[in-house]
């Protein structure tokens, strides 16, 4: 019975031991090798005090060891917490403090940053993947791999135990941890493997970073099918021509990424010239795919099928839409589709009453894929869920509030309309504009700050900002950008910061962000057309 995520690789190791589980830069690990190494890591973690439910950080660039880390941590009964290897140290340290990380799986290559992190995170004691470092108990990867261990440590776990925590932008100025269980992760993986018909000879791309929820498909749906995950090095993801070559060389059959990566491939990698005949599914999520680009993509890859997956990190994926032919005469965005199996969707108005089909409302979701909650945030957990009374109040169903506004179309598909709050997407990354404002306001010279999205002409958004200075203080764009660049991940740093003498105001005296945004959009359009 499959009820824990790492059982997927154990099954594959029994059924197809020699098949490659993961590949990276031309090298691979078979399912047996991956399982033995993950078992080794799990034993080492247990021997050094890691216990059921403990949070273990992963801090490294992608490699074959990354896959070992994911499974080894879960096999120890712990939850893995992927830390963005390129985020500012202050942000990573916050995440480590927030969820109390004592064990970090990392590499010697990250020692410089790990030392900086350690100054800010008193609880960190164990570095796995590091040869030697004063002040820590260190265990090298050689030690982890020395023993080929056929069985994981015995830890009694249920499907409701924590499997991983993904941190995402938080509107109060600090990231929040989204807790997923084996059940929520596996519910998604099983659905995805079946829906996209994954089979053992599939080669599935891993383009997304580990701290981004798309990666759970790449690893777990693939493992459920006993197929191969092709981990793409971060450096290659930045170069469309290199990426297209890798897709061809590695015979990728299932691709999954944000639309931005696919648009880049389309515009800069002459996709139609290469041999991508192995590619049978192109999946995308994270943002609306602009229809005019999608039409070109369909034409460039006539052998592939296309699917739009939708869902906030809190729900893995909760609706999907297989793209068929697109109309020639309309750039109307494609729908987000219908709920996945084993999910119930509600569309409600501001009073939480279910609306009639065709009426806009907030999308609520209930089912196996929904997160357990936010780590250490009872306030958010209270607000984030809707308790729907059932059977005359004898029972309650718990629905996650997505914050996304949708409407049901006559064919039953859901159409995405926008957000209820100030969360935006920039090239697939989710950013709370309030978090960026808090970062700007943390500069002592800033009186007020306003942050807003500006369309980038590529189907996504750039973040721009405006500030006013405290009396007697002179601020510059460079100063402010440098200030936030050490607090926020690079994708959340505003592309432009205007320093204004005063802000436009609404009739009630609030900052008129709409007016600021309209000015910025007009300037951006002038730049693009000029």
């Amino acid at each position: 019975m499959l009820f824990l995520l790492p059982q997927a690789i154990d099954h594959a190791a029994r059924n197809c031991p020699e098949r490659e589980a993961v590949r990276f830069a031309g090298q691979g690990l078979s399912y047996v090798e991956l399982t033995q190494r993950a078992n080794g890591l799990a034993h080492i973690l247990r021997e050094h005090g890691a216990r059921r439910g403990d949070r273990v950080g992963i801090f490294m660039n992608k490699s074959l060891d990354t896959a070992v880390a994911l499974y080894g941590i879960m096999k120890a009964g712990c939850a893995y917490v992927p830390l963005d290897p390129f985020a500012p140290v202050a942000r990573i340290a916050y995440v480590m403090r927030d969820c109390g990380i004592r064990h970090l799986v990392t590499t010697d290559l990250k020692l410089e940053q790990t030392n900086l992190l350690a100054e800010d995170t008193g609880e960190l004691h164990y570095l796995i993947g590091v040869t030697e470092q004063e002040g820590f108990t260190c265990l090298s990867w050689e030690t982890v791999y020395a023993a080929k261990i056929d069985a994981a440590p015995e830890v009694a776990l249920t499907e409701q135990d924590l499997a991983y925590i993904l941190y995402t932008s938080g509107s109060t100025g600090t990231p929040k941890g989204i807790m997923h269980t084996h059940r929520s992760g596996l519910s998604f993986a099983l659905w995805a493997a079946e829906t996209y018909g994954l089979v053992p000879h599939d080669r599935v791309s891993n383009h997304a970073p580990l701290h981004f929820d798309l990666s759970t498909f790449d690893f777990f749906a693939t493992a459920v099918a006993g197929a191969t995950t092709v981990i793409i090095p971060e450096a290659i993801t930045k170069f469309p021509a290199s990426l297209a070559k890798l897709m061809q060389d590695e015979q990728i059959s299932v691709w999954y990424s944000v639309p931005f990566a696919l648009i880049q491939l389309l515009e800069r990698a002459s996709l139609e010239k290469g041999d991508l005949s192995a590619l049978r599914w192109v999946l995308f999520a994270g943002e609306v795919f602009p229809t005019k680009h999608l039409r070109h993509l369909l034409a460039a890859l006539p052998q592939a099928r296309f699917s739009n997956l939708y869902g906030p990190t809190e729900t893995n994926v909760c609706t999907y839409y297989h793209v068929t032919a697109l109309p020639e005469d309309s750039d109307e965005p494609i729908p987000i589709g219908k709920p996945c199996a084993n999910l119930e969707a509600l569309i409600v108005d501001a009073e939480d009453n279910v609306v009639a089909p065709g009426t806009p409302g907030e999308l609520l979701m209930r089912g196996g894929v929904v997160m357990l909650g936010y780590w250490g945030r009872p306030d958010l957990n209270e607000r984030g869920f809707f308790r729907r009374k059932m059977f005359g109040g004898h029972y309650e169903h718990l629905f996650y509030r997505t914050g996304d506004l949708v409407e049901q179309m006559p064919d039953g598909n859901l159409k995405y309309l926008g957000r209820k709050d100030r969360q935006i997407k920039t090239r697939g990354y989710r950013v709370e504009l309030d978090e960026v404002e808090v970062a700007l306001l943390s500069h002592e010279g800033v009186e007020e700050a306003a942050v807003f999205p500006v369309p980038d002409g590529q189907g996504s958004n750039l973040i721009e900002a405006a500030v006013t200075a405290k009396e007697g203080i002179t601020l510059t764009e460079e100063l402010l950008i440098n200030h936030v660049a050490v607090r926020l991940p690079s994708y959340a740093v505003p592309a432009k910061v205007r320093v204004l003498a005063t802000f436009p105001r609404t009739s009630t005296g609030k900052i008129n962000r709409r007016e600021l945004q309209a000015q910025a959009i007009a300037e951006a359009e002038a730049r693009l057309s000029g």
């Binding site: 660039n61 290897p85 390129f86 500012p88 290559l109 971060e234 450096a235 290659i236 993801t237 930045k238 170069f239 469309p240 021509a241 290199s242 070559k245 931005f260 990566a261 880049q264 800069r268 990698a269 002459s270 090239r427 460079e478 950008i481 440098n482 660049a485 050490v486 690079s490 994708y491 740093v493």
Partner: protein, 78 residues
């Protein structure tokens, strides 16, 4: 100014925005997240405008952008 100096200044000013002011020509630009995919696009646009050249799409590959030094060597071919 030679290619190396111009590129180094541009990357420090426009792409790093003060995060690493001691960047050197041989430093790895890719494996530590110094430049993201948007940064590559900006860098290519800058090179084309500043040096009056057209960088073909098939040359925008990680082998040519690993460090300022490697990139300068590539640009010397024009």
């Amino acid at each position: 100014m030679n290619h190396e100096t111009i590129l180094l200044e541009y990357i420090k000013q426009e792409l790093l925005r003060g995060r690493k002011s001691d960047l050197k020509v041989e430093d790895d630009l890719l494996s530590n997240g110094i430049i993201d995919s948007l940064g590559i696009l900006q860098l290519v646009a800058f090179i084309e405008e500043r040096f009056h050249i057209q960088v073909p799409d098939e040359d925008v590959v990680f082998e040519n952008f690993q460090s300022v030094k490697v990139l300068s060597d590539y640009l010397a071919k024009f």
